[in-house]
Symmetry: C2
Subunit: 346 residues, 2 copies
């Protein structure tokens, strides 16, 4: 049972003290060429891995991480994030960690700014941020970075040098997945891309999905479908969509780019039309209900729970085990129907 080699072993093999080996490993200088050579010779022969457990023993600081996300009560898309945070807390309970959540109002830029200001004043070690408002998020990230607070993002991609990590999905590709699904199930005819546009906050999101969706069909060529885009606002979406249905009798499929597919499904269900295929996003209870009913054919899982969990576990890996943080982690684009939905919800 050959145990792992330690710094002490290397020191012995190289004929120096562990202090010298330590200086070589950490490039702290103050080492003679002779000692350096003999230690390097040993290091080349053996495969030294520092014992992370021992390394972290000394470091008995409690790392505090703040998660900044929209209030799940305002938009239930974010509900699963709570579970993701709980899971991370449970999983990492044994380490010196303190994870706390801070909610902002997804409809209110000011609230986003205020919450970030508050979190900044708490001076945590890291922030996991859902950067819903582009400009304000960049400013927040800058301030955090000034205070040496590590910032990671999830859900929305933000182009910034300071961001060490992003956990989310490729929205363009997600649009292509939806297109392929429509292509698999919808009859020849018209296809509508429906954006539920609440104060444009998801504008970039929805545009990327639309681009991907259209890209699939234009790349494929000679399509059986005519694709139109429909923008709906919260206030009058019902009448506006009902009008759209009347005007477009040949509608065979709808791709809803937000998590509000159930609102379309409700209307479709009333019209008793069963030849319109519906593809939407996210496993909200209301969406699942229509999925089970057959009104919605497929949902694409953006996996908010996993996004938060992974984002947190990257931070833990970084703080506790000194691992480098990847620049970005793209989660799989899960295709969900009534039969496999439960596995993605729990």
């Amino acid at each position: 049972m050959d145990k792992k080699l330690t710094i002490k072993d290397i020191a012995q093999l190289a004929g120096v003290s562990k202090g010298t080996v330590d200086r070589v490993l950490h490039k702290r200088g103050k080492v003679s060429q002779k000692a350096l050579d003999s230690i390097n010779a040993v290091l080349e022969q053996i495969d030294y891995e520092p014992n992370l457990i021992a390394r972290n023993l000394k470091n008995n600081k409690i790392y505090s991480i703040c998660v900044v996300l929209p209030n799940p009560e305002s938009d239930s898309y974010w509900q699963p994030c709570i579970k993701g945070i709980e899971q991370a807390k449970k999983e990492f309970k044994a380490f010196n960690l303190s994870i706390s959540s801070y909610y902002f109002d997804p409809e209110d830029t000011e609230s986003f700014i205020a919450v970030n200001k508050n979190v900044l004043s708490l001076a945590p070690d890291a922030v996991l941020l859902a950067p819903l408002f582009y400009k304000e998020a960049l400013e927040a990230v800058e301030k955090y970075t000034e205070q040496d607070i590590l910032v990671n993002t999830f859900n929305n991609q933000l182009e910034s040098e300071e961001i060490r990590n992003f956990v989310g999905q490729d929205l363009h590709q997600s649009g292509r997945v939806a297109a392929k699904l429509i292509d698999s199930i919808a009859q020849k005819g018209q296809i509508a891309i429906v954006h539920f546009d609440e104060k444009f906050k998801n504008a970039v999101h929805m545009q990327e999905k639309e681009k991907g969706f259209r890209n699939y069909f234009s790349q494929k060529g000679n399509s059986d479908y005519e694709i139109t885009t429909l923008k709906l606002k919260r206030k009058n979406y019902e009448t506006k969509f009902e009008d759209f249905l009347k005007e477009n009798g040949n509608l065979k499929g709808i791709f809803i780019t937000t998590s509000k597919a159930y609102q379309i499904a409700e209307i479709i269900e009333k019209t008793k039309k069963d030849d319109i295929s519906l593809i939407g996003y996210d496993l909200l209870d209301k969406n699942i209900a229509f999925l089970n009913l057959g009104t919605i054919d497929f949902l694409i899982n953006q996996n908010p729970k996993q996004q938060v969990y992974l984002g947190l576990s990257f931070l833990v890996d970084h703080f506790i085990f000194g691992k480098e943080i990847n620049h970005s982690a793209l989660l799989p684009i899960d295709i969900v129907n009534s039969e496999n939905a439960s596995y993605y919800m729990e």
Copy 2:
């Protein structure tokens, strides 16, 4: 920044020494009622979590884990397992772990017995086993358990008291997922369930999938489909399947219960019939090729890579962090089309 409470802190609060606290925590006895009471009083007030890092520092044993699985060269379904093992090795490199793989011939019961005998003689701390052969696997598990070797299984479920853990999928539900997919895409007509029957080694597997598939339609009632089962053997599958195609002109969908969908796809492709929907299993290169071509409509990902990785990480959690091992972990049943396949492969 209040740091975590240690044994020393508890000792101070209770007015005893850390040794006494240690005896209470580990129920080693030799503690007076008075000391016990005062320590318990402290423990009730605070929420003590032992520092796992410190606990494991002392324990500098190298844990050896053997993975026993079919030779990926005999059946490329198992190919991703190698990556799963590599990933686990990389991820857990920093801990005192030694993970090694042992292959058996999936067509040869004797080889399964021999490999397990060999692994048994190596006396590892744990074995992660793909229990392909039911009876022999039970015997092997029994022998391992006699030697106090922890056994976990993946891919195939095995009913046994000794098994602490299983990582895999619910095959019945996976059949239902396939049925729902067929129901979404196939035109009215005949549906065939195709079993590729290699020496019955997967018999239980395939039967469970078929049951789930049929269960979906019988539960739904008034189906547009007539379902037949076709068993093919490796030798003459081509002619047999071609005959089947000729005899069943109204065939609209095929559910292949193994990873050999590409063999059916090859034949379908030749006939130039494009109104037959194909659902199969597993992201083999050949399957992916037909998925991209459009011959295969969906693949169900059984995720062998993740199965092995999770199985190993459960063992690591157990050995390194003293976590309890769950009895079973059912992985999601991923629906894969040409657009989201890459996320499940890497």
